[in-house]
Symmetry: C2
Subunit: 213 residues, 2 copies
DNA sequence: GGCTATTTTGAACGCTGTTCATGAAGCGCC
DNA sequence: GGCGCTTCATGAACAGCGTTCAAAATAGCC
């Protein structure tokens, strides 16, 4: 009859996700969660060490889902036979933008989340999820033949990711006007355009080219 | 003898900046400010409407200083006779990175700061400062002749800014290892390299090129 | 001095995250 | 059923937060 421990945890996380999405990190309150889940405040702390762990768990779910939609977008292109690198990157970026738009409140919370209390040593599951996202982008870059070694391609993937990420967050920190959505997309189109063109013309090694002059 | 109202406000802001830098937004507490400034809690609220206004004011000071260092970096290059666009952009980015590194705690607070309580209509002083930063970048792009009209160049400036911004924040959200500083700089070098190369080869109009095919 | 306007004050309010003694509920065993 | 033991849910209680506001102190003026 009563919910399992794990079921209740998921219920709590679902509630937490809605709260985060509606009002950001400040809206994640232990008493609200308890009330909506039909349990007591103390029980929340029985399932999770503190609210930070709840927030962290919600973020991981979001990152996980983002990765899944990214892979799905890739699969779609594969099915359609799209091989053009620029198009594929744009499709990835579009998936990212859609995802962020679908989570207007909780995505800033994902970004602003400061995990300074984690155990010091080594990368955690959080970083693992981010790496998985990088790998997807790196896979797309692999398709285009830019004469990049593995290290340089991975660097390019991270750079591209960070840049798109910056465009999206810069745009959404401002106002969520309808014009902002256009602005974000224009920036992404320009970025991907110059990025691909730049890679084609060896811009990734601009430093080495300039030096011997 | 006693401090002027404005002097006290500046003292409060100086204290607030230190607090933000040391412990982020959570470390900005009314009672701490009052204690360190030698006044009572209520007096803080006499100078500022609430803590958000204090935070906002600190952020504005930081953005102001960032703009000043950017202009100073530009002037340095001018004096040295550096005209190469790539070098100038890299110098700008370097100034930005140094600034962020100099404010490890308060810079995330600037970015995460959500100004949703401001009066709805129109851009405020906050946006004006950000626009000033954009203009600096746009000025650098103007030097290079990429065949861009004003709108497109402004878009490219915003894109470049957002991308660098994304690289820096992505890098710093992770861990502040010494390796991270290198990673950030490698990403910036690659970004600027492909960006300039891409602009030189008309990558900013990749969409128009691809369509008629 | 006295009178008024202004400013400073800190106790008090309502909210927060978090804890923990208390009690209820399950469970195996006789 | 009765009993001991463990496990878990509970919500009052605590410390801390931002913010307010009646009262006290101060400043300004005649």
């Amino acid at each position: 009859m009563a919910l399992d421990k794990e079921e209740m945890s998921e219920k709590v996380l679902a509630i937490a996700e809605v709260l985060l999405n509606e009002g950001g990190a400040d809206n994640l309150k232990a008493r609200t969660i308890a009330e909506q889940a039909g349990i007591s405040v103390g029980s929340v702390y029985n399932l999770f060490a503190d609210l930070d762990e709840v927030h962290r768990a919600v973020n991981m779910r979001l990152l996980d889902r983002l990765g899944a939609t990214g892979i799905a977008a890739m699969a779609d292109l594969e099915r359609q036979g799209v091989t053009d690198v620029r198009h594929r990157i744009l499709a990835m970026a579009a998936a990212y933008v859609r995802f962020v738009e679908a989570h207007p409140g909780s995505w800033p919370a994902v970004l602003a989340f400061n995990r300074r209390r984690a155990t010091r040593p080594g990368p955690d599951a959080y970083d693992a999820l981010l790496d998985a996202l990088f790998d997807i982008v790196a896979g797309v870059l692999k398709a285009g033949d830019f004469g990049l070694d593995d290290d340089r391609r991975a660097l390019a993937a991270r750079t591209l990711w960070s840049s798109v990420h910056g465009i999206v967050t810069s745009g959404y920190v401002a106002n969520s006007n309808s014009r902002q959505a256009e602005e974000i997309w224009h920036q992404i189109e320009l970025l991907v355009g110059v990025f691909v063109k730049g890679l084609e013309h060896g811009g990734a090694f601009a430093h080495a080219e300039t030096k011997p002059a």
